[in-house]
């Protein structure tokens, strides 16, 4: 696999870790999803993300070493994607926030001529489906029963403070971050409004909000997540099946 120039490695790591970590979180739904059809849908999304992660991490180094042998502080993913699944509504809120961001970001990268343009052009089609899936569920849960509405609102509120971090510029990613944030707010705001949900208020940036995943600082649940993710490889180095 061709490695990217050293200047692009931090970017490949950041985008790759987003995909890897969210893929693992979605994989945790296997055996637990509310219905069989949805379990397959979430697993499909997880596999799309895992494919993206493999390509991105392979640009930096050995994909297995990077995924299985790095310590928590060496991961560069957004804190949003490491947040626990919560109930199904919270998972959908995380999907809505992240896939909207990812589609817009990859759309920009695909339109450019940087290192990531070919990868982004391929991934953006997958991600468009992830966003569509999240939107449809947001509409149905938000505009569903009183309980589904309340849970969907709670999920959106709980994750709101992690959304500011998405628009901190990533070294080596050639994107218009302000444009990205404006488009994201417009898109997510429109979906929430159609779903009869309230766009959460509250800080999304600054010293007292979440968001230092790109610097290697992670929230408590992340440590437990990577312990589970890495345990097999660390116990049995090189294990295959």
């Amino acid at each position: 696999m061709n490695r990217v120039p050293a200047t692009a490695a931090p970017a490949a790591l950041a985008l790759g870790d987003d995909a890897l970590v969210l893929s693992h979180r979605l994989g945790e739904w296997a055996g637990h999803a509310p219905v069989l059809e949805e379990e397959v849908a979430l697993a499909n999304i997880a596999l799309d993300l895992l494919g993206q992660a493999r390509v991105l991490l392979s640009l930096v180094g050995d994909e297995d070493e990077l995924a299985y042998l790095r310590e928590e502080r060496a991961f560069r993913n957004l804190q949003l994607v490491e947040q626990p699944n919560g109930d199904f509504a919270q998972t959908i809120a995380r999907q809505l926030y992240f896939s909207t961001y990812q589609e817009l970001l990859y759309g920009q990268l695909a339109a450019g001529d940087g290192e990531f343009a070919p990868l982004a052009a391929k991934a953006v089609k997958e991600v468009a489906y992830h966003r569509d899936h999240a939107e449809h569920w947001t509409l149905r849960l938000g505009d569903g029963t009183p309980e589904s509405h309340e849970r969907m609102q709670r999920g959106c509120d709980a994750l709101w403070r992690f959304t500011g971090e998405m628009f901190q510029p990533v070294e080596g990613v050639d994107a218009d971050w302000q444009k990205l944030e404006n488009a994201w707010r417009e898109s997510v705001g429109a979906v929430l409004q159609r779903a009869t949900l309230i766009v959460p208020e509250g800080p999304r940036g600054g010293a007292w909000t979440a968001g230092a995943g790109r610097q290697g600082l992670h929230t408590e649940p992340f440590g437990r997540m990577i312990a589970e993710m890495q345990h097999l490889h660390r116990s049995h180095p090189g294990a295959t099946w």
């Binding site: 059809e37 397959v40 149905r140």
Partner: protein, 95 residues
Amino acid sequence: MTHSDWPLWEVFVRSRRGLSHTHAGSLHAPDAEMALRNARDLYTRRSEGVSLWVVPSTAITASSPDEKDPFFEPAADKPYRHPTFYEIPEGVRHL
């Protein structure tokens, strides 16, 4: 919401342009839009199709097993019913 609250849908997949949609299976979904998405995830993730139909299972009228004989056992002694007396031109597939 439990699974049994959701209606059943029949899924039809067109594998290539020019072919008809064929029945692929069934699934549960709360409405048609979601049924289409579930069908995409369940039946076309390995490039099996270029078009999908979903139909509420309740919209299908099926023949009854009791009527099996009058429906499906025509007399076998009328070979002129079977279109076997002409050559199929080369290059015509899927006939």
